[in-house]
């Protein structure tokens, strides 16, 4: 199911956004859920939500009504890339979507 699209949304700090996106991609792959992980900076475009199956946000950019898919706040990853509660929430959501 590599066509499952995860979009990581961040702001000005492009380095951190790419690091988080890469980390999430590796983590999902390791967990057995290879996904198509992309990053999206709201500095470049915040009016148009990205097309994805799951949106992971480093800042409160979009609502689920706007994205049409589940939205998870992953702000704690700004400080700790392996923040357990946040990673668990992401894995649970991806797992549920995979099973569905």
């Amino acid at each position: 199911m590599t066509n499952y699209r995860v979009c990581v949304i961040g702001g000005w700090c492009g380095n951190r956004l790419y690091m988080v996106a890469e980390h999430i991609s590796e983590l999902l792959e390791k967990a057995g859920y290879p996904c198509n992980v992309k990053s999206h900076s709201v500095w470049e475009n915040y009016t148009q939500p990205p097309a994805a199956n799951l949106v992971l946000q480093l800042l409160p950019a979009f609502t689920e009504a706007e994205t049409g898919c589940p939205v998870i706040m992953i702000r704690p990853l700004l400080v700790d890339l392996d923040h357990p509660a946040t990673i668990e929430k992401v894995l649970k959501q991806v797992q549920a979507d995979y099973i569905a």
Binding site: W12, N15, R16, V42, Y46, P60, R75, V79
Partner: protein, 381 residues
Amino acid sequence: MSSRIYLDYCATTPIHASVREQILRALDTSFGNPSSMHWAGADSKQMIKQARVDVADGIRCLPDELTFTSGATEADNLALFGTLRRFPANNAHFITSSIEHHAILHAAKQLEHDGYSVTYLPVNEYGLVNPEDVRRAIRPETKLISIMYVNNEVGSIQPIAEIGRIAREYKILFHTDAVQAIGLFDVNVDQLNVDLLSLSAHKIYGPKGIGALYIRSGLELIPMIVGGPQEHSLRAGTENVPGIAGLGASMNVVRQGRADERVRLGGLRKYLVDGLQAISPAVIVNGLDEKVAPHVLSVSFIGVDAEMLLIRLNGEGIAVSLGSACNSKSIEPSHVLTAMKLPREQIESTLRISLGMPTTRDELNTLLGVITRVLPRVLVQ
């Protein structure tokens, strides 16, 4: 996007019409090298001479006590390195504060790396240095103290004259970075008891790339740039004539009406604070009202993601600034707000709104309207 509103005057200011005219005049008529012995050189030399007088009038010093630099960062560097490198590293101590601009803090780190001893003074919760802390930090080998006049993030006005008095008492040189002060405060180097003072043109409606360091007569500094006799041999290189002319003109622009502009901006700032606090009880103004510059407003929107708020405001054409910056590993909280010991949640929800000569009440009403509308959308869930 509707019309644009600029509220980031602490970062930089637009060029004033009269400054632009003066720069164009310099570009058109003063192309000669000021060091040349012919008429073309003399024209440029005269342009620089007049600008030196204008800038000197703005801070009440002698024209020859000014050294033009590429900006305040270079002026700060020259003040620190030029003073301290006259002494052996193991016998020179430097005092500064933890809320200085990075032009000072990074230079201080370099000095530490070179073996100099540095004390970083704390500030209170309002971002103010206690002069008695300065006195306590003084050692027999202290050679220089540098404390900024007005902080660029929260606007706290430091007790410069008082610190200068202490420095005098101990015969220690005193430098201040007055970049955020010269536009609104009647700077008088004698009354402030300063020996060195940095300033920049682009914070006072002048061009970028030009600034100056005031050096009290009789002081000897070691130059950082060598290769010519320009600027009393302290700053080699052919002078930036249009920039210098622009700095002189920008000083003339702000010098005329500092007191009136202080009152006007103070009124606008209060209007903005009242408006923001009416929008949400979770709005906290950082700094102490009586000791804050009228053009700076550091405000925390508790529970709000400040970056997203800034993005939304930018999307509506409103330019403000953030209290934190990112590095390659994480979002770095502002060193100023951190030194004030504000909680991390407060720091991360902080915006800096800074006002300037073109700012109007209508602009602030637009800002308040947009914030009212977008605030519920930028809450940290």
